[in-house]
Symmetry: C2
Subunit: 300 residues, 2 copies
């Protein structure tokens, strides 16, 4: 648990850089820093609200330490007395339904029994799926993964497919991405490599999103597209509150509620027994909210 | 598990009567029946949308049977091979922020090892708390409880206080009500008595709500009150998706997703780091979202 201070410093600096890039792409919105301090540690919630393109964007950094509770033992399947964790997590909700929702997280988790690991991922949730965007998104992620290990992309893409899934809806949250956890050094990947892998992902994140902001940020949209966006936001809320382990772990461990739930959109809506119009963009999107789509080699 | 068919029939009839009373109080909205049948059983989801007073009202009846899974064993702390369950559950979301949200559930749960019990409750979630309504609501519940057992009201009010609580917000969901589970016959309360207790609650439910509909259904409201309603709906979504055991159990056991999540409002919203205006109705409401308020003897 000794080197976690350095990692926390690195992550904290990346967080600030990330926000500068996103602010510059937005052109208007500014991130406000809401530093928090609790018994378990401290963090800085950077929150952008009512930007030109980003309606609500949260970029949270935290560095916490505490007793490893029975509840956490159960959640994580590890035995220890104390833990320390640091990470950045971010979710961006755009104004325009053509701009996707994005989520990123990198984290380092250390137990006082000597066990530690990296975790994280990036996944994309377009309200309206444009296959070419899903393709380029996955190719970018694959390129980053391949710098470290050719098995990372296929393994972590599969993990994301399974993780970002709503069984009660039989839908994926979006077009997936990569998800990894318990990533520990092995012969071909040193501790340094793994740290760099998380740094590369965190650095790529605002650049990837800035691309969608430029492409769709000022595209005109209809009332129908906006309504659909709100329904998709409803699904995002369902995923985060029912399944997301980061949210569960955060709330369980007494984390900062406002930072944890800054992932929720400004508005969301629900329609019971909704049936999409045949052939409409809603139906096309629903058809692509499936596991195991090989986006890297997808043929439109 | 033999007499469950009769109980299911009784509940199913009450469900229909409940909807007739609510339709009559609404004056415009009609409940549409969406019967469903799955491997585990069947049900009827009665859903009213876009009424004059009720924006979204769900009154669900279900009668299910199935294997008692390890997950359910864990959730319920019982060991058995099979279970059967029947019940009515309802949530009503009004258009007008002055009309409260209400929730009611009565249910009978039987295991094939001979163990069975009743459960249920009613609780009220005003967007804007008017103490006199919370007082009369609790007095009505106490009167029903007292017909059966003087300990019911204090015990089940306390249970509701603890159950309808969002620890991450340090707020109760609303002004509480009663909540009970594992209610089994004892000397002074026969099986018949307990069944009648659930029937009395279910019968009182639409009458109680019709009172609020008459009182507030056509009251004028401001944009500020409507915005606050949406924030309170956000909290309602948080409770239902993070904590509600009925929702968890329903989704876990492969119940009908649309019926289970018909409890969610049409719209909800979130504001990060919201601070109420000092002295405003929002602050007054937040101050009353606390456990252990003795509403029956509350002095305004």
């Amino acid at each position: 648990m000794e080197n976690i201070e350095n990692i926390a410093n690195t992550y904290s600096q990346i967080q600030k850089k990330m926000c500068r890039i996103l602010e510059s792409a937005d052109g208007e919105g500014k991130f406000n820093s809401i530093p928090w301090k609790k018994e378990i540690g401290a963090g800085d919630s950077l929150l952008l609200e009512n930007g030109q393109i980003i309606e609500k964007g949260a970029v949270n950094f935290s560095f916490v330490k505490g007793k490893f509770s029975p509840k956490m033992e159960q959640l994580l399947g590890e035995k220890a007395d104390e833990y320390a964790a640091t990470g950045i997590s971010s979710i961006l909700h755009p104004v325009n339904p053509w701009v996707p929702i994005i989520h990123m997280n990198v984290r380092y988790f250390a137990l006082n029994n000597g066990i530690s690991w990296f975790g994280g991922g990036i996944d994309l949730t377009p309200h309206i799926i444009q296959p070419e965007d899903a393709i380029s998104f996955h190719r970018t992620l694959k390129e980053i993964c391949d710098r470290y290990d050719a098995r990372f992309y296929p393994d972590y893409k599969k993990w994301a497919d399974n993780y970002y899934f709503l069984p009660h809806r039989n839908e994926t949250r979006g077009v997936s991405g990569i998800f990894f956890d318990r990533l520990k050094p092995v012969e071909q990947n040193s501790f340094e490599d793994l740290l760099n892998f998380t740094i590369d992902l965190a650095n790529a994140y605002p650049e990837i999103y800035a691309g969608y902001m430029r492409k769709y940020g000022s595209k005109t949209y209809s009332e129908r597209e906006k309504e659909w966006q709100n329904l998709r936001r409803g699904r995002y809320v369902e995923f985060n509150l029912i399944y997301d382990r980061g949210t569960k772990f955060g709330l369980e461990s007494g984390g900062n509620t406002e930072s944890i739930l800054a992932s929720l959109p400004t508005d969301a809506s629900w329609k019971t027994n909704y049936v999409p119009e045949p052939g409409g963009f809603e139906e096309k999107t629903l058809r692509l909210l499936k596991k195991d789509i090989d986006w890297v080699n997808y043929i439109k």
